[in-house]
Symmetry: C2
Subunit: 467 residues, 2 copies
Amino acid sequence: MMHLESMFHCKLASSLVFSNPLLATAPNSEAAPMVLAGVLLSLVFIYLASKLGGELSKLVDLPPVLGELVAGVIVGVSALHLLVFPEAGAVASDSVVMTILQKFAGLSPENIGGVFASSSEVISVLAELGVIILLFEIGLESDLRELQKVGSRAAIVAVVGVVAPFVAGTAGLILIFGMPTIPAVFAGAALTATSIGITSKVLSELGQLKSTEGQIIVGAAVIDDVLGIIVLAVVASLAKTGEVDVTNLIYLIISATAFLLGSIFLGKFFNQSFVAIAEKLQTRGKLVIPALIFALLMAFLANAIHLEAILGAFAAGLVLDETDKRKELDQQIIPIADVLVPIFFVSVGARVDLSVLNPSSVDNRQGLVIAAFLIVVAIIGKVITGWAVFGQEKINRLAIGIGMIPRGEVGLVFAGIGAASGVLDKPLQAAIIIMVILTTFVAPPLLRFAFQGEAIEEPDLAATNNQ
Amino acid sequence: MMHLESMFHCKLASSLVFSNPLLATAPNSEAAPMVLAGVLLSLVFIYLASKLGGELSKLVDLPPVLGELVAGVIVGVSALHLLVFPEAGAVASDSVVMTILQKFAGLSPENIGGVFASSSEVISVLAELGVIILLFEIGLESDLRELQKVGSRAAIVAVVGVVAPFVAGTAGLILIFGMPTIPAVFAGAALTATSIGITSKVLSELGQLKSTEGQIIVGAAVIDDVLGIIVLAVVASLAKTGEVDVTNLIYLIISATAFLLGSIFLGKFFNQSFVAIAEKLQTRGKLVIPALIFALLMAFLANAIHLEAILGAFAAGLVLDETDKRKELDQQIIPIADVLVPIFFVSVGARVDLSVLNPSSVDNRQGLVIAAFLIVVAIIGKVITGWAVFGQEKINRLAIGIGMIPRGEVGLVFAGIGAASGVLDKPLQAAIIIMVILTTFVAPPLLRFAFQGEAIEEPDLAATNNQ
């Protein structure tokens, strides 16, 4: 099957190059519109899934991103096969989109392999552009000045929340399960994420966003983003080279940190020129296009020095966050993110093969045990962060720890990059996704429980009571 | 050279499928991030070119789209080679983006062919999504109710403005230049377009937008869009099958017309459900995602029945234009169009090989003569439309005719689709682009001249004086 696929691809590649020697401008005249048709139909399925999943999630009071992910799992390789990717071993005949094109749009059998490969490639790159825009948006929304206020207490929570689950997860996977170093490190890294979006939404519903606990959680989640993205850049680079070598590791940690701090530092000067340029421009897209040029260039640079593109996009967001144009820019990035980000979330879900965790098969036991292990480490590793806060006696330490639990979209970024880099085998990939879903799922009710009785009557008073 | 390219592609294709047999999820671990890097860098060049060109154009009071196109020519195969496409015969070593990746990002020689092919494919599909969004936006902004007011006079101007240049252009190319039917028909079709955007901007500057002449021009330009897109769908389909056969021609004309009228008719019922659904949704992108699902699905359907994707997107725009949500939707589509549409304009420019029109080579004379012929037909074929208006004596017929001259973005859509379909050889492609640039360039000053003395002092009075 795979061999045949490859032959088709070769045949297409040759026919693309040799077809119509008289007309140098001619692509394969059938394949080109079919690739577009494949992309259009895939996007229709992706958007339908993301909206259905997101809205259903919202109806039962869960974060929409959870619904988009689960909808992705449903349309993906685990169930409906509306969206499958060749890197995961799927061939064109596995894809419902290709079957539809063949039946109703006249796609010929000799072109199907190439069209499937090309349209999947386009969807993959669109998903990557989606996560780049997502991190750019997260950067734009992370307020570095706010952060300095919460200061050291938030920092200690963040550091403990990154180190504890990373060390426990990685060591456990290597020592208990005998996993090779690289996938173990990647899975450990995926445990470090904290989703600021989900926690801060629940906190604001509970009237706890401005309480000491709320401020510490939000501050720690922002620092966690910064640390996490450095960890991810380092780990993903290790995965590319395939070996853990101390010199390389030190180089990566230094270059990722230097890249981030350097761009924030240089950004303070660049800020003014950016605003000055954007104010002089007169044509459509005068704010959003210069911002995108900057974000994509930073993403390219990060990628070119063997870090991750999203690190560059995040740094670009942090830099532009400091300008006067921030609000206006944020407003215009929103529809672009609304269009691109769901492609990423749904794709991450679609790539997960849940069948590898089906408990009825004995072979799958190991994967299930790993998933259970990751969930336990993910929860305990974050809950203990509350007790890392020094000083204050009457602080709600349990609430702080629970507030750090949900991995949400940030955990998905780790899972997505890990899957794309090819270091995670299917059971580990599925186990990480299950961990992300479960931690995101349990955090809101647990957080309500931890704050119980404190904020029900007078949210603002409750916030000061604890100080 | 071409053979080598094809071998590289095959090698990559095989290595993509066979690499890492133990890890089924593994893509080629070097190629995937390099494709992303290639896309990111290409987008940076595209956006830089579009903003520089657009702003410079605006500074000298020309339409920004003209500057974006010329900037595309400059970054493309004619000059800087920052953006080149393999279908036009370019190989990876022609591309500055690939050279940069090779020098600074460690792209290896054995992967360069595949990475070039993949990232060019992604940019091509993004450009196609750009033109789909552009036509969706044009559809959203074409007000069918306004159109009914201007009625028959606008319709006759539009019909003459489509038929005259099409017949004169096609017949001239076949009879005088001995061109084969299909490219001649395509070039003739490209002559039919009228850019409503450019004309209406100049008209509003002259205070003539609400005058009888202005109303007729704008109405005719809208009808011209509808007729033009039907002509394009028919012609592009002919190009795909490669033969002009009367049964096929009749089928295409009927199916394109039926598709457009049918969707407008069915849309009247669908409208209400769309608004009802959009109002129930609660998550981010609640308006723009359902609208995109509809637009992309319509584009897919038009593509699947062998018409053009843009016909579907245009029909979707016309349908949603009739809803109460139109303004809000328009507002949200703007940033998405700002991001995607420049990719289309710059790509169209980048694909044009101007060297084929270099007058110093004798071989190029034919192409230059064809370009001159197209320009003459393009101008005369539209100027005469003014005399097609019946009845009114004191109407400014010259102004109406001149108002229909600029081809602008609509002409580029024709040129772009023609180039992608492979039926236009390089000289004809370049000749069409030159025609689009020149007609767009001369229309604003000519229109000012034609209205001279009429509107300088009191625009509103001048508008009624003529009635």
